[in-house]
Symmetry: C2
Subunit: 112 residues, 2 copies
Amino acid sequence: MEKLVKQKCEACRADAPRVTDDELPILLKEIPDWQPITEDSVLMLRRVFKFDDYQESLEFTKKVAALADEEDHHPAILLEWGKVEVTWWTHKIGGLHKNDFIAAAKTDTLNS
Amino acid sequence: MEKLVKQKCEACRADAPRVTDDELPILLKEIPDWQPITEDSVLMLRRVFKFDDYQESLEFTKKVAALADEEDHHPAILLEWGKVEVTWWTHKIGGLHKNDFIAAAKTDTLNS
């Protein structure tokens, strides 16, 4: 499989396939810092990024927003003092699409 | 009482007074679009701002972050496609200080 960071999110339809139970652990291995979580029965990927400085948190938020526009896939970004929590999932399918793993892997590269 | 938007957040100590049950409805009248909510037994103020465009949501997020730095008081800002949810509370006292109402009133002015 090509590395996630090298792939690009594709346009997602309501009938696009969710990531299967078999694929999930394989994909998670490539993004070990992300937690699969469930909110309102929707499976999502979440990672908290910590920062010592509010400006750094804001700069990171802006980078994630730019990535979102580039991929045309938009996460929830929770900006607080000292941390930014990013959550990826695919609204149209009410769960996780491969796009979310690609986007999570690319989010990791913004923090290096 | 001087209008909230004309006031400035003051440095908050752990023993600073929480807004009382008597003050709460009076202060809420000045910020009618904000909901008092409770999360983990902490009273907070929350408002959702809607936008048609992701860039507009991001611009608003940046304005709220600039206000936060100016007041040295930092909210939770949840940026998603089409909306920004802002939540003010005072960590140090685990509840609502008058600062939060001042900050909420000033947040409203950023959306006009």
